[in-house]
Symmetry: C2
Subunit: 341 residues, 2 copies
């Protein structure tokens, strides 16, 4: 155990001035965004304690643990597994260990895990998608822990990401489906709230419909949670709609595989009677029978590039540059022309 001198920390400043560490951080970095009264209180605490942000940064650097946390929505069905495997391999080549936490798609659990990983000294975090409470980003900033977003790409975001354009990829697949004569479309999605990937995929289908002269409001839309069983249930429901869809898009391959299984159980022929489309191109997509038409996500490339970006930042101070990778449809056996078209 090392003996530590009582160096004042950001946290000490926050406690003394009765504000959050995020507010202290804002006072130092963006003083314009803080009420003058608060700013004065914080600055007085900084003076009283002899706190030096530079010294804090140095302590942070010396505190390096060579551990990087990755917080993913789920470990089930290996949706994120191949990307994380590549992320870990690249990190390991540079002397970093990866620790993973999974949130069950729950923002409150994610927040707990962000705190846990920061408390355990993670040098940086990998996060999936941009959508989360801004307080999470403020906390990370205040703690000096950089975070990189992946699995999504948002050119308009302040925060750099290494990902792909979920909307454009789904738009491209939907356009191909519509070109095959499909007019009655359904989308079985993950819950779109706080999930920018699901939201973007939804808008991708809508924009392809608009572009093709269809009414996007005609899209049959169902929200559920990602699981094979839920995919099966929702598929059965959408197939009972007054106007039966001839193409069912699924928010990911797990839902699509469930839809495929229920189609078989119900004696509905795929792709002759209905086309089923996935998203992700995980191993399941090829194992499914018939093999699934889906959007291929460059899992390994994305994981590797995300690791390189964080290693560059931590080792050499190289700022993270956004990286937009290409995700595009891969055509297998569950898509055919609409019957009668």
């Amino acid at each position: 155990m090392n003996v530590k001198r009582p160096t004042p920390t950001l946290h000490d400043v926050a406690t003394r001035s009765g504000v959050s560490t995020a507010t202290v951080s804002r006072c130092l970095n963006f003083p314009d965004q803080v009420a003058e009264r608060t700013r004065k209180k914080v600055m007085k605490a900084i003076d009283d304690l002899g706190y030096s942000p530079n010294f804090g940064a140095k302590v942070m650097a010396a505190r390096r643990t060579n551990t990087i946390g990755a917080i993913i929505p789920t470990m089930e069905n290996a949706v994120f597994a191949r990307g994380l495997q590549a992320f870990q391999e690249e990190l390991r080549d540079h002397g970093f260990t990866m620790l993973v936490a999974s949130t069950s798609y729950r923002p409150d659990v994610e927040e707990e895990q962000v705190r846990a990983l920061v408390a355990r000294g993670a040098d940086a975090l990998l996060l999936i998608g941009h959508d989360r409470d801004p307080a999470v980003y403020e906390f990370l900033e205040a703690q000096g822990v950089p975070a990189l977003v992946t699995w999504a790409f948002d050119a308009g975001s302040q925060r750099p990401s290494v990902g792909f354009d979920n909307k454009a990829a789904m738009h491209e697949m939907a356009s191909e489906v519509i070109a095959l004569g499909h007019r009655n479309l359904a989308f079985i999605s993950a819950k779109t709230r706080m999930n920018d990937r699901a939201t973007a995929r939804y808008h991708g289908i809508k924009s392809a419909m608009t572009e093709a002269g269809l009414n996007p409001d005609d899209l049959l839309f169902a929200e559920t949670t990602y699981s094979i069983e839920h995919g099966a249930e929702e598929f059965e429901k959408v197939m009972q709609a007054p106007v039966r869809p001839t193409a069912v898009f699924c928010g990911n391959d797990v839902l699509a595989v469930g839809a495929l299984r229920r189609a078989r159980e119900l004696g509905i022929k795929v792709p002759q009677e209905v086309s089923i489309l996935g998203f992700d191109d995980i191993e399941l997509a090829q194992i499914a029978y018939p093999a699934l038409t889906t959007v291929h996500v460059p899992h390994r490339e994305m994981g590797r590039r995300a690791a390189m970006a964080l290693v560059g930042l931590l080792k050499d101070g190289t700022p993270i540059k956004p990286v937009k990778l290409h995700a595009a449809p891969i055509f297998r056996d569950t898509l055919a022309a609409a019957a009668g078209s």
Copy 2:
């Protein structure tokens, strides 16, 4: 940041006496196992420093982080995902966070990750299987970090496990297969070195052969790494053996799904020409077509019971009792009577 008094630690004692922390721990707990000269050196260092093991234990208790590490061989194909999900849910109900590391089935990577998780303050570790360098257990003991083994059950081990009997489960399935007239058997396994689960499954097939009056040396045996592609490759090889097997056991469902896929590509009918058997009963097993006959592992029950055991130990000091769960064959569509029998 809390100010810490310079309390002597186990590590300080080790440094001063020029031995490992594991040796210091042994001197305190099992003095008989240590050479007298070493023991004297260590005891002198303890006196000189004023080290108190009781005080150390108290520091350890106060240091609780409510974080439990799980180190698994792989995140791919969700082999361990369902069990870990249940483990995490149960831990969370008791205020603990789970952090996961994955080793790619490499003992050297596992050792790095044990060190990383202990350095990050994990209160306890979940480990898969018993086989590892004894130095790992000594390190954990010296650091006062309890470890629980799962996915295996070894009544003879000193270390408690919450798992199932891999050998008995595979023996039961192999007996059923042999009862259906199969005489020419193959086993496509993970590498058995440092993998007690793979080793036990291998012996399970052999013991069923012996019991049925077959010569266990006739088992066609191939070792590879767990992946769909390797399962496919090894299946193709074993089917070219001079005496073609009528039943191919696979070390897990991932290999079995690969075998199944290659059989379809080669036009070999399953189960009419060859039966294919998996192990684990992960989601893949039901998605596969035909649906896979495999050994059902009680993933969720195992994860939940493992979490309960660790929570009981950490919260109430309840010693971990070994828990042996039941794993048994589940018959689906890839097993049939041997042709001509």
